[in-house]
């Protein structure tokens, strides 16, 4: 990839701590902790809204002070097992690089990004494993979160130095945009930069992305061209986005639509997938469109909650799917919301019922819900089918509805 092809957020990513815009007080506190206080309090929690420089600060500080970052973010599983597998070795030993003689590092830093995203179910035990690691760690531990006030982080906060990041002020964002314009030779009206900065709501990353999308092609930016930005905050419905998506004639049109629509990308991907057979009747066109959607799905998976620099490629694949044969578009009735969501909605009652049954089996047999579901339910169902007034009903305390459900259920 040539340097010119880079996203500007990547190209102008801060290399030094002083390059980070705003939050000087937070930066000073962080550096003070890293230099002098990390031996007394081993962990720090950086918190604040997205796009204000938390991750950038950690990367820049690691570069400046010669630390090697070992990172776990929201796209990694962060259960007790996963945390212990990755974080424990990283925090138990000093860096081996020092012994090779080639590079001299200050050691490792464990960086846990988006700790507020640790899930209650999938990442079970993750928070307590992190606390244990903090208490025993030989290396500094840095965590970042958008919302530190959630209950599950309460025990973690007691172990950390807390550093708050605030929204970056509009004049500082304008100043950064002016600098980028100068370096990229973009002739921008001051009012246009003002509009971009105001629209970003303190999120530097989104401001830089907006500047690039609006000015990269022409190297000119007027206030009029920023009019599209205000639509980002409007609630464009899924139907409207779908209609514009399928009716679009050019790939650029779709890319622009997706950039400014506020639909949930996962739901949108499902809806596109549901509606493609109505859009393309020619099997080869349909196959080509599904191929692009599958690639878009791959990018969506890679994006997760933090690799937003890949969003461009996600939009591009989706745009290609809409533009397989733009001439053949005829209006049709859209399937929305996605079939998968509707199915989940309709089966909610049944899933709750099965959950209750598994709970009762679990209580009596001392097994988990999953074991009850897979190892017990099929046999109990068979036993009930053979003897409807089986003593099992009383023993498990099943009510009539639950017995009925067990007898009639197909797949479980």
């Amino acid at each position: 990839m040539q340097r010119n092809d880079l996203l500007w957020v990547e190209k102008y990513r801060p290399k030094k701590i002083e390059d980070i815009v705003g939050n000087d007080e937070a930066k000073a506190s962080f550096v003070e902790w890293l230099k002098n206080k990390r031996h007394t309090k081993k962990a720090v929690l950086l918190y604040g809204p997205p796009g204000v420089g938390k991750t950038a600060l950690v990367n820049a500080a690691a570069r400046e002070f010669g630390f090697t970052i070992i990172e776990m973010n929201a796209s990694d599983a962060r259960s007790e097992k996963a945390v212990n597998a990755i974080a424990k070795p990283a925090t138990s030993y000093k860096a081996l690089d020092n012994f090779t003689g080639e590079t001299k590092t200050s050691g490792n830093i464990l960086f846990l990004d988006e700790v507020d995203g640790i899930s209650g179910n999938e990442d079970r035990g993750g928070v307590s494993a992190i606390i244990e690691i903090i208490q025993k760690s030989l290396v500094p531990i840095i965590m970042a979160a958008n919302d530190p006030d959630i209950d599950k982080l309460r025990p973690l906060k007691k172990e950390c130095v807390l550093i708050r990041f605030h929204q970056v002020r509009i004049p500082l964002i304008i100043a950064l945009l002016q600098k980028i314009c100068l370096l990229e030779r973009v002739n921008a009206e001051f009012e246009a930069l003002e509009r971009i900065a105001q629209n970003s709501r303190g999120d530097v990353r989104s401001a830089v992305n907006d500047l690039q999308s609006l000015s990269e092609a022409t190297h000119n930016l007027t206030l009029q061209e920023t009019a599209l930005l205000s639509s980002r905050n409007k609630d464009i419905s899924m139907d409207e986005t779908l209609h514009k998506y399928f009716a679009a004639k050019y790939i650029v049109e779709v890319q622009s639509l997706l950039s400014y629509s506020s639909v949930d990308y996962d739901d949108f991907l499902l809806s596109v997938s549901d509606n493609l057979p109505r859009r393309y009747t020619n099997p080869s066109e349909l196959a080509a469109a599904y191929d692009y959607v599958s690639k878009a799905d791959l990018y969506r998976g890679r994006i997760g909650t933090e690799n937003w620099h890949l969003l461009k490629y996600f939009f591009n694949e989706l745009a290609q799917a809409a533009a397989v044969n733009p001439e053949s578009f005829k209006p049709f009735e859209f399937i929305s919301p996605p079939i998968r969501i509707i199915t989940l909605f309709w089966t909610k009652g049944k899933r709750n019922m099965l959950n209750n049954i598994c709970g009762k089996i679990g209580t009596q047999c001392h097994v988990s819900h999953a074991t009850a579901k897979h190892d017990f339910v099929p046999y109990i169902k068979l036993m009930l089918q053979q003897k409807k007034n089986s003593p099992l009903i009383e023993w498990f305390k099943f009510n009539d509805e639950e017995v009925d459900h067990l007898l009639k259920m197909g797949r479980y």
């Binding site: 705003g22 007080e25 605030h166 929204q167 004049p171 100068l182 303190g202």
Partner: protein, 112 residues
Amino acid sequence: MVAVLNPKAFKLPRVEKEKFITLIRLGLDYNRDQGTFSIKSYNNVEKLIETVSAILGDEVVFQQTCTRCGKNFSCSTCNYVEMCATKNLPFTCVCPQCLRDRKQFEQYLLKF
């Protein structure tokens, strides 16, 4: 009345022990030699200003320092004050004059 304070050193009237402890817990630091307070932690800065404001009996605003020219200015002179999430708080900013002055900006960039 509005009290304009310098975040690096400002004086407060004598307060009772509990109030003093609250101020320190909220993030103030006290310089015993000079008898001045300064802001040490910005984690609870809104609550801190509320408490200081209650002690002084005035609305409290902090001086802003321009990162480009180094001059002090007030948030009331800024065009974006209404949509600023940190208005009147002691954070770095660029003054309205420097923001509009393209020549000065280019000179500022040459420093790096």
